[in-house]
Symmetry: C2
């Protein structure tokens, strides 16, 4: 975390980082404004061993000057830009998706509320009717006349979970 040491140098295949001169800079360098220069560092842990074979080292040195190098860099820079743009776009889209879903959620919840209310009303009506029927069809106990004026106003709501 607080340790800045990252030590992830390029390290040529052999174990020696390439050091690049900054003496001459072509027009390409200008376009970039800055030039990143690998730092020479002894990546070879053990002192002895292979004596840095100069086999293809030459290529590495010419590297930065090469027009082909510049071309590759430019291509990559472009790709990077593109990739980052897409990334940002995606993030934005996701954020928007959140908003849309939130809205939809609210709509749905409102609908649920409405339906629930309708249901409870209907249920109440049902109970009322059921009582009425019971009274008319089953006088049961006392042989009292049919009290048609019955009406149970108490709302016996069949509340479902309040979500």
């Amino acid at each position: 975390m607080s340790n800045p040491s990252q030590q992830k140098l390029p390290t040529d295949q052999n174990g020696v980082s390439v050091i690049q001169s900054q003496g001459h800079s072509s027009a390409a360098a200008l376009s970039a404004g800055l030039q990143q220069v690998p730092q020479l560092v002894p990546v070879n842990p053990s002192g002895g061993g292979k004596a840095t074979p100069l086999s293809k080292m030459k290529k590495a040195v010419a590297d930065k000057d090469s027009e082909e190098y510049r071309q590759r860099r430019e291509r990559n820079n472009l790709a990077v830009k593109k990739s980052r743009m897409r990334s940002k776009q995606k993030a934005q889209d996701t954020q928007q998706r959140v908003n849309e879903l939130k809205e939809e959620n609210e709509r749905l919840e409102a609908k649920i509320k409405l339906l629930s209310k309708e249901l409870s009303v209907l249920k109440d009506l049902f109970l009322e009717h059921a009582h009425n029927l019971a009274d008319t069809t089953q006088p049961v106990g006392a042989a009292s006349s049919t009290a048609t004026g019955n009406s149970s106003s108490t709302a016996t709501n069949g509340r479902s979970t309040g979500q």
Copy 2:
């Protein structure tokens, strides 16, 4: 678009970019592995004119060596890392939020479906009863006896959401 020329050099106040030696690199440089070096460039378009006032130029040159500079850079690098971490985290959170909202949406929709079904059932029952009532109270045509064998087979379950 395809024009790579960005030309956004630091360019010291005077008009001369600083060129930095890479002779000695402190531990900080090592930790970074790379060092960005501003390229010297003649930002002064017209050959004549002001003769690059050396007023505060000195400071600029010493800049990169300055321990204070290094310190600032390190602080900034840290801040950058932090900022990027947060940014990434935020993006992830947003993505997750999308998933959660999606789930919730499905739940809500299921609930709506359920409620709708319940409602339709109740309504049907209602209609049925209404017909029955109409029949009993208004024999109208033929004086048929009361067919008490009524039965609404549909189960009117008052099930609240599982969950």
